[in-house]
Amino acid sequence: MARDDLQTAPVNGAARSSGAVIAAEHGTRSSAIAGAEPGAGARGAAQAAAGRWLHHHVLDLDDFSRDEIEYVLETTDAMREVLARDVPRVPALRGTTVATLFYEASTRTRASFELAGKVLGADVINVSASGSSVEKGESLVDTVRTLRAIGVNILVMRHKSSGAPYLAAAHTDAAVLNGGDGWHAHPTQALLDLYTMQSRLGSLRGRRVAIVGDIAHSRVARSDIWGLSVMGAEVVLCAPPTLLPAGLGRRVQTEQEEVALPGVTIEPQIERALRGADVVMTLRLQHERMHSGLLPSLREYSRRYGITSERVALAAPHALVMHPGPMNEGVEIAPDVARSVQSVIEEQVTNGVAVRMALLYLIGRGA
């Protein structure tokens, strides 16, 4: 996105007016949306926003600063207000076309993106791999180009292959929003997790977040780790060694000083991992993991790593229990824990709509 376009706000009339619409109706909330000091006009708001939001695409959180994440979370606050209205509709993205392009099954991500787009007044079209030209062998690049050619401005993508949204982003000037790629990244899930944690716990700096389960195959864990690390939280990973990815925890020195994932602690003992945790997050265990020799049985996994009320009791008294869904109750999480007062699993889903509205809004202003 061209930075100058935002600084000279009038270039994108729709963007400016959309901020104004929400601001006008919600008085003080305007500051949350625009990220400007109270009372600033739309132009000032847009100028302030320019410094805080420079993303054309949202592909992962590995290129987000703390300030950028906070900006998304502030904007999410404003979107929660919109959702709380009697008629949750604003014309912020009127004239913008959002396509959800899903190559993999999804309930919450797709539904919440669709709803988020509609609340903001965008036209939303849904494309699935099945029943589309993808079934006829059309390549991803061609599909993306086709969608752009029919006028799509924002492409929300879910794909089984890690990196697929990066391929799409390289071949279109539409904004690409990653709705989950392979084992790699799920940035909107991570942002809604951060939002949920922060709204309950306040600042995440120094908070201990235990992530339990199938880290190796989890895009949610990867994006959460990037986001939590930037926000200053301490991340503890707990899983049997077969479900931990290679090269974690070992700092690998290279010319770029790059690491697989930012600093995490690995604690195979679940009791030790959960002790004093502010957040206990467990991940979905795919049943097919049993067939590839990664685990002996669901029963054994559940006994060693299942989140039970006894284990939650080891965490801090205020600890949150989280799960990105869909859950296997009785496997990675006991049903009573999933429904306990500490569980914020449903809240995660609700926040998911607001977070996705925030991202569509921030991207759509520049698209």
Binding site: S161, S162, G163, Y166, L167, H184, R222, A246, E258, L261
Partner: protein
């Protein structure tokens, strides 16, 4: 056929321990004993290195069957562009090179191209399916110089044992692409921190190493000759070293890309790429490994544990690579960048220039005993075939696959600044690649 004199070049002929300025004259497709007599044509070699034509033991020409990726003609044009005068064609064609008629087709088409010589490698098993031995003796009669199911391993240990025994009766090697399928299954890159960063399934170094170790034991058991294709890990090199020490007939090769890149190439891509790049051009089998493995390969090439360099030239069409990383076809178009990449080791002071030349000429010829098929191959001794390459070891250029003669533009080296450029290639006494003008254009472009 006439005569051709190469004048004033630094002749490096490692087979004879020669490294000096010396004129070489070719007459009727052979190196003449006396360079002093007049010739029909003279090539100026002043400031250049003259070496025997390069020999590639591992090359995919794709024809018959996948002519949209490469043809025998385009592949051989790429070969001579890269200084190669002999290439061994892998049998993973469609149909597989598992019978006489495909071998004859390849040889006939290669002869018609008239650029470089092709020595076909026959399939070990019918259809390269790893189930039943192909008619190895007939393949040998038809002109195959070794056997391989390359692209796939000979996974069944008993079948590998029998293949080694049977091939030893023919005096030929079995070349194995070592990759234990159960360990490598689904892996699209090296298992290490980069695959975790990218969320891609890795294949561990051990997938290669367990099969290399197995094949070393089978070579000792059978007395057969196993040639390990494209070794890429420190552990594989250790196994080869141990097998050689005990006298087993084991040889191996390394590719230019395993000497110069690591798995980070998939993450960072060519210069100027966004991160992560998911660069499908860096997807190759065996995968680009970690820094320790790359270092081990470089050391082992220098000390001779690794016998030679082979390109594993694997051309692909754009659509095979312009897709999701895990859907991309593995392979690198390598014939036209092999020399400058190997010279990077020379420039880094890790490899003597003579050893680099050796690893591209007499060493591969010896590894498979190619002298039996092409007497004198890999040297410029009097009477040897008039196969030679002239290169400028100091010419700098930037790799641009659009300039490749190969149809396969798939290279992770695009945009890389390299040093060392082929100026002319002579095969069988004929100037099959003339790069004087192109080299001059690059020089002019740089100074202008």
């Amino acid at each position: 056929m006439g005569s051709l004199l190469i004048h004033g070049a630094r002749l490096i002929d490692p087979a004879r321990g020669v490294d000096r300025v010396e004129d070489v004259r070719f007459v009727d497709g052979r190196v003449a004993a006396n360079a002093g007599e007049p010739a029909d044509r003279v090539l100026d070699g002043v400031g250049l290195v003259l070496a025997p034509g390069f020999v590639d033991l591992h090359c995919h020409l794709r024809e018959p069957g996948q002519e949209y990726k490469e043809t025998i003609h385009s592949g051989l044009a790429a070969a001579v562009h890269g200084g190669f005068t002999t290439v061994c064609a892998m049998p993973n064609t469609e149909p597989a090179t598992d019978n006489r008629s495909v071998v004859e087709y390849v040889l006939r088409t290669a002869r018609a191209a008239g650029l470089a010589r092709v020595l076909p490698i026959g399939a070990v098993t019918l259809g390269r399916s790893g189930k039943q031995l192909a008619e190895l003796a007939e393949l040998a009669e038809a002109g195959c110089v070794a056997f391989s199911d390359d692209g796939s391993p000979v996974a069944d240990a008993e079948l590998m044992r029998r293949a080694l025994e049977y091939a030893s009766g023919l005096g030929l090697a079995v070349i194995n692409h070592c990759e234990e399928p159960s360990l490598a299954k689904g892996g699209v890159m090296h298992e290490g921190w980069v695959c975790t960063r990218l969320g891609l399934k890795g294949q561990p170094a051990a997938a290669e190493e367990v099969m290399v170790a197995r094949d070393c034991q089978l070579a000792a058991l059978t007395g057969g000759h196993v040639h390990i294709a494209h070794v890429s890990t420190a552990g594989a090199i250790e196994a080869v070293l141990a097998a050689k020490a005990r006298g087993a007939q084991v040889t191996c090769e390394v590719t230019p890309h395993h000497l110069t890149l690591t798995d980070e190439a998939a993450l960072y891509g060519p210069p100027g790429s966004p991160v992560p790049a998911y660069d499908t051009a860096a997807r190759v089998n065996p995968p680009l490994r970690g820094t320790t493995d790359r270092y081990a390969c470089r050391l082992a090439l220098a000390d001779g544990t690794i016998d030679c360099v082979a390109t594993d030239h694997a051309p692909h069409a754009l659509t095979d690579k312009e897709c999701e990383f895990d859907q991309a076809a593995p392979g690198i178009s390598g014939l036209e960048t092999a020399l400058p990449l190997l010279l990077e080791l020379v420039q880094a002071g890790e490899l003597p220039l003579a050893r680099a030349v050796e690893a591209l000429t007499i060493a591969p010829a010896r590894a498979l005993g190619l002298d039996r098929f092409v007497p004198g191959i890999g040297t410029l001794a009097p009477g040897a075939p008039a196969d030679a390459v002239l290169f400028d070891p100091d010419a700098e250029w930037i790799v641009d696959p659009r300039e490749f003669a190969s149809l396969g533009k798939n290279t992770p080296f695009r945009g890389r600044r390299v040093r060392g450029r082929v100026i002319a290639t002579v095969c069988d006494g004929t100037l099959v690649y003339d790069g004087y003008e192109a080299a001059a254009a690059v020089t002019a472009g740089r100074s202008g």
